[in-house]
């Protein structure tokens, strides 16, 4: 099973949890952490070692503070230049195009048209897709269009938990994630084999009645004409077309040559097996003639008996279903294209082009730049402010009892116990409010220390909202320095394993604590506060 990861600047947990049942997917630590995971070589993401990374971006969040189109340009190009620095050639990326989920940007200005904003993203996305063979587009906007904004987005869950997607949207996204994986696996199809009667035109041609078929600019005729337009587009992408049809050759070819509504011309087909021979035999023959394996063939025919025959006798040939409602015919062909012919992997020619690209100066430029996580974090302008615990006990109660991931001991307390802790002389509780340039995250960290003869960290909790930014390093440093000031030279701590706090199992090890006792279920640590090393963090002093 392929190892995949889904990163986003909004909460994608519902999608991720659902995918867990089908794929091996990275359990994100917190949410909104795109670059926190991707730019940091030592992140949990790279420990997980994904083969495919999906990045779904909510553009509204990217330009939440922008007031002009120039600022949006800047934010988006910053995003992509950061992303370019994180690209790993061994990973396949699917990056979403975007949909602006509301129209509020348009209030009072003509500039900030949501469509224009989406285009800015799309342009950068196209560039990066052109530059790297391992990056593809994830069709996000199409999902929104299918369902409609009102059914795709939820305001309630957004305000309650940074989830923007409804259940319906979630299902649609999961399906698309699946499709992309499927495309990676499939061998590229190269040949589309078509039947004639009731497939690329309506009706059955009879002798000498060349204009008796349904192919025109109205009603049923238009359906087939539209279908032919799509097939011609598919052909223009480099796909080969062939005919396998049971007809008299002369009758059929006359229709193709003389019917004024035919979009597909005789020369569009590399092979025309119009005869009364079994279709599987005809297909085999085409395969020999053009020297392509049967696994690169797609066979499109309205007749279920013919489809069944080909499926059974040539199992390598792909045989899509034929729609049972005639108006869905063009759409069905569109799907045949996206499912089997859409290019995911580049042709050799494309590859050469991108290699040339890489050989030019930009390549050197790209390689020179190392992953610049540090400047990203500095640019976030993170501030950490200690707050008064008693006044904020409601929020602390919530944090203590509902945080699962960044929770070293998962020690739960009732409100009464919490109030006691706050007032107890032999306990110290630290609470922190954290904000960055995107806004205030609120009180998102709490530490409880027991002070008997020794100082012992009883609880260390960080909300998943702020994980991955080295904020925990600052907080533990703050607590340690405070305890040292109070005269404690040694600090003890503990990690208790739960099903959800694996991301922090080596937190104290990373902080330079020494294990003094360890079992399957817990580890006890100690550190000397006088000799401890400096910690890495990027907090703006306020």
């Amino acid at each position: 099973m392929q190892k995949i990861a889904l990163l986003s600047n909004v909460n994608m947990e519902p999608v991720i949890q659902n995918i867990t049942k089908k794929h091996n997917i990275f359990k994100t630590t917190g949410y909104g952490n795109v670059f926190e995971e991707m730019a940091n070589k030592n992140s949990q993401l790279y420990k997980y070692n994904p083969e495919v990374i999906y990045i779904i971006i909510d553009i509204k969040e990217i330009c939440i503070n922008c007031e002009s189109i120039e600022q949006i340009h800047l934010e988006v190009s910053n995003w992509f230049s950061l992303f370019r620095k994180c690209i790993n050639s061994h990973i396949v990326y699917f990056i979403s195009d975007v949909d602006f989920r509301s129209y509020d940007m348009e209030i009072g200005t003509d500039d900030l048209d949501t469509l224009v904003i989406e285009q800015i993203w799309k342009k950068e996305l196209k560039n990066v897709i052109n530059d790297f063979t391992n990056i593809h587009q994830f069709s996000y906007k199409k999902q929104v269009e299918k369902i409609g904004k009102d059914n795709f987005y939820t305001n309630k869950l957004w305000y309650l938990g940074r989830i923007i997607h409804t259940n319906l949207a979630k299902d649609s996204l999961i399906k698309e994630i699946d499709n992309c994986l499927q495309l990676l696996k499939e061998t590229q199809k190269k040949v589309l084999i078509l039947d004639l009667d009731n497939t690329i035109w309506g009706g059955i041609i009879g002798e000498g009645e060349y204009n008796n078929i349904e192919l025109s600019d109205e009603k049923i005729g238009l359906i087939y004409k539209d279908l032919q337009r799509i097939i011609r587009r598919i052909k223009n992408t480099g796909i080969l077309l062939a005919i396998v049809s049971k007809n008299n050759y002369e009758d059929a070819i006359s229709v193709i040559r003389t019917n004024q509504h035919m979009i597909l011309k005789e020369d569009d087909f590399i092979a025309k097996k119009i005869n009364w021979i079994q279709k599987d035999i005809n297909i085999l023959e085409i395969s020999k003639e053009i020297n392509l394996g049967l696994d690169s063939f797609v066979f499109f025919d309205d007749n279920p008996a013919e489809r069944e025959l080909v499926k059974n006798s040539l199992p390598d040939v792909t045989v899509p279903e034929f729609p049972n409602r005639i108006e869905l015919l063009p759409k069905a062909m569109e799907e045949v294209y996206t499912k089997y012919f859409k290019k995911l992997t580049f042709t050799n020619e494309d590859k050469e082009r991108s290699l040339q690209y890489l050989a030019n100066s930009k390549r050197l430029e790209l390689q020179k730049k190392t992953m610049d996580f540090t400047s990203y974090l500095t640019g976030l302008h993170i501030t950490v402010k200690p707050v008064e615990p008693f006044l904020n006990r409601q929020r602390l109660f919530q944090l203590i009892n509902k945080t699962n991931q960044f929770n070293l001991t998962t020690q739960r307390y009732t409100m009464v116990e919490l109030e006691e802790i706050i007032q107890a002389p032999n306990k110290k509780i630290y609470a922190f409010e954290i904000s960055d340039k995107f806004g205030n995250n609120g009180i998102t960290a709490v530490v409880i220390v027991n002070l008997l003869n020794q100082a012992f960290i009883d609880t260390f909790i960080l909300s998943c909202r702020i994980m991955g930014k080295f904020i925990e390093n600052y907080i533990i440093d703050f607590v340690e320095k405070d305890l040292l000031k109070d005269g404690y030279q040694i600090l003890f701590s503990k990690y208790i394993k739960t099903s959800k706090n694996k991301p922090v199992e080596d937190f104290y090890d990373r902080m330079g604590y020494q294990i003094i006792e360890a079992t399957e279920d817990y580890k006890i640590y100690r550190i000397s506060l006088e000799t401890k090393l400096d910690r890495e963090y990027y907090i703006k002093r306020s």
Binding site: T154, Y159, G161, I163, N167, K402
Partner: protein, 72 residues
């Protein structure tokens, strides 16, 4: 409706539907964390075409509360 709600809760909390009852509470159910809570509310609202006011969502603590909120 009650059964549909129980089914959603059981599925999201990954528990046997027989174990779901009115008394089941957030506090006593480890898997009923804030994310699960939102997923439950979201799915109930969509599937049952009901609206649970945002303020109420924050106050719900048992299955009974949830049923009451929907009946209102």
């Amino acid at each position: 409706m009650r059964e549909q709600i129980f089914e959603i809760i059981a599925r999201i909390l990954e528990m046997d539907i027989k174990a779901v009852n009115e008394k089941l509470s957030i506090e006593s159910t480890e898997k009923w964390d804030s994310l699960a809570h939102l997923m439950i509310i979201g799915e109930i609202e969509e599937k049952l075409k009901v609206n649970i006011p945002l303020e109420t969502v924050l106050e719900l603590s048992t299955v009974q509360d949830l049923l009451d909120a929907i009946q209102k």
